[in-house]
Amino acid sequence: MSASYVRASDAPLRPPPRGHAGPLAWLRENLFAGPGSTALTLGLGLLLGWLAYQVLDWTVLRAVWTGADRSACAVPGAGACWPFVWEKFPQWVFGFYPLGERWRPVLTFLIGAAALAPMLMPAAPAKRFNALFLLVAYPVIAFVLLGGGVFGLPPVETTNWGGLVVTLVVAVTGIVLSLPLGILLALGRQSELPVVRGASIAFIELWRGVPLVTVLFMASVMLPLFLPSGMSLDKLMRAIAGLSLFASAYMAEAVRGGLQAVSRGQREAGLALGLSRWQTTAKIVLPQALRISIPNIVGIFIGLFKDTTLVLVVGIYDLLGIINAGLQDSKWAAPQTANTGYFVAALIYFAFCFAMSRYALFTEGRLARTGRR
């Protein structure tokens, strides 16, 4: 009962197959899959490592950490000039806001953050009340706190606002104003009423056809000449208005893209159910359209945030503007002062834009899950 094809002994043990899990396997599959891949990994790794070392070398190893004026930083071979940042940083945040009143922007920011945080968390309760507070009460509170002039708060003119405070004020107001305006314009553009449609199209095309710098320049230089003498509109308000209108035109197009992506059947179904046009739009079409346009809307928000630096051309000191002004201080003039200032500016802008972008991703993911249900 023996068959030659039946093995008498166990086959020799072979090594286990390469694992498909764990960090080592990941490395092998993604970075060292073949000779080409390995070479690319090593090359890019070296490049990145070199870059990282350069940054580290400049920001930490060769950097100057303490000093009272330029003599500390004006040393051959010195890296970043941090004492310049230590001295100027409060001004970069608050601009020319009076020293004794700086708690006001801080308080404004804290109230805003406290009210915004629960809005951003899907699980937090009382959204409706919170939204009402943020959109109606908060702007008033912020305006009173920052501007002063009532309740015994010394008035602080907007010309003294500056730095990160102005960047945030401009960006937040621009974002808050441009979204509803953009939605209205997008709906107007789809309207069946010729006047509304025509006006919306004219508005959108006009603002999209002009560069932002031109808008700001017009608002700041030409507008005062057309106003009666002695009447002067606040420069910051002019810039915010210009920026918001500009952003709303782009917002309208982003929302329109979403509106057009919602199938016609949705609207028809809504109407067939006996909902009015407004109800259909508000409860059926818009929620779907906005969900589709979130990536674009956030893109515009981020763009708007970065565009705030353009208010520099009309003489408003935003974050970048105030850093630029500080670079002219002969007390700190040194080879690396400017680079240090711009490095910090880049970090701050990146932090804000990255946070916005990550939050948008989170929202998208959440809404996509809702959509699948």
């Binding site: 004026d69 330029r70 004006a74 051959p76 001295e87 100027k88 409060p90 001004q91 020319f96 806001y97 009076p98 020293l99 010309t159 003294n160 320049f217 700041s220 230089v221 030409m222 005062p224 000449l225 106003l227 009666p228 003498s229 002695g230 002067s232 051309v313 009309v314 003489g315 000191y317 503007g321 630029n324 002004a325 500080g326 670079l327 002219q328 201080d329 002969s330 007390k331 003039a333 040194a334 080879p335 002062t337 400017a338």
Partner: protein
């Protein structure tokens, strides 16, 4: 072409603006507000810079303070409005500011067609050259730059000025132009050119940002005229006179040896009639000198300005001169008796 258009537009707008703005006197407005609204630059080393405590410093800034001291008796009663180069004239024409002290070059077109008046020349600037003395130890003047390569920013008058100057002095040169100023300076520091050229005050500012400031010297010659001075609206002669004479008072006081420290003593003790007239000393018979009253301000106008801000020399030294990191030579900005161009008519 673009510049011409802007000039034309501003000119036309100015005519409209003046019609409205000239109705009330600027002096009355200033008194009513309680401060002088002064337009300065957004940041220019040595001329107007905000420090970390939000205080503005610089030559242009100090002139504003001197005007405030003369008119209101208090040098701190100034509201500084930082302006871009484009908005500066509009801001003045529309009445947003009372005085523009923003390193503005006095040119004929600005003086005659924009509805502006230049009240004096606070700083005689002009195009200069900087060379690395470690690399070029023999270059002591622009005339030693024959055959040199010169870095500068493209599209500005600096190119033209260099061409004119070197042509008229029959010297060869090579021009290396850059879109941005920073690039031109980087090229100069990398040794791609022998010299870098821009306005002299700018050269001193750039020098401070170089790796080895002391190796770089600014050559003494100035090859173009960039007279910088305060500007007021046309059509308000009373205010124009005040601004003009505050500047003259600063120059005169340096000439007479009145400083911020000794101004009070000089007023009490000086027997020099020039000093007495400038400082508004009441003569023995009780009659006032009347120079301040004649302008519509207090008799102590010049005393206040000098005491609180300093004379021209003090302002210069503190902000751009020997007491500042910039260390600009007085050069053309020395008093006329020291061979410079700063000259003021007498107070009589």
């Amino acid at each position: 072409m673009k510049n011409k258009l802007i000039t034309l537009m501003l000119g036309a707008a100015a005519t409209v603006a003046i019609a409205g703005a000239a109705s009330a006197g600027t002096l009355d407005d200033v008194r009513q507000h309680g401060f002088v609204q002064c337009g300065v630059s957004q940041g220019l080393m040595g001329f107007s810079v905000p420090d970390a405590q939000n205080n503005w410093t610089g030559m242009d800034v100090d002139f504003c303070r001197a005007v405030a001291a003369a008119v209101l008796g208090d040098a701190t009663k100034v509201k500084f409005t930082p302006l871009t180069a484009k908005e500066r004239f509009t801001a003045l024409q529309s009445g947003e500011i009372d005085l523009l002290s923003r390193n503005t070059t006095w040119t004929m077109s600005r003086d005659t067609s924009l509805g502006l008046k230049f009240a004096g020349i606070m700083y005689y600037d002009g195009q200069g050259f900087i060379v690395n003395k470690a690399k070029h130890p023999n270059v002591k003047s622009v005339n030693d730059l024959a055959g040199a390569t010169i870095c500068t920013q493209s599209g500005t008058t600096t190119e033209l000025n260099i061409a004119d100057y070197f042509k008229s002095h029959k010297m060869d040169y090579k021009l290396l132009t850059f879109e941005k100023n920073d690039e031109a300076i980087a090229a100069y520091q990398d040794g791609r050119c022998d010299s870098y050229s821009t306005d002299q005050s700018g050269l001193y500012a750039q020098r401070l940002k170089m790796a080895t400031p002391d190796d770089n010297v600014v050559l003494p010659e100035i090859i173009s005229k960039e007279p910088l001075g305060p500007v007021v609206r046309q059509g308000d002669d009373a205010w124009f006179n005040i601004v003009k004479w505050v500047y003259f008072a600063l120059v005169n006081s340096e000439e007479l040896g009145i400083t911020s420290k000794n101004a009070d003593d000089m007023k009490k003790t000086s027997t020099n009639p020039e000093v007495q007239r400038l400082l508004g000393v009441t003569s023995a018979d009780g009659t006032a000198a009347g120079f301040g009253i004649g302008m519509g301000v207090d008799e102590g106008w010049a005393l206040a300005a000098i005491k609180q801000v300093g004379n021209y020399g003090e302002i210069f030294d503190r902000n751009v001169g020997k007491d500042s990191p910039l260390k600009i030579e007085r050069g053309k900005n020395a008093l006329w008796k020291d061979g410079g161009l700063q000259y003021a008519p007498p107070v009589r």
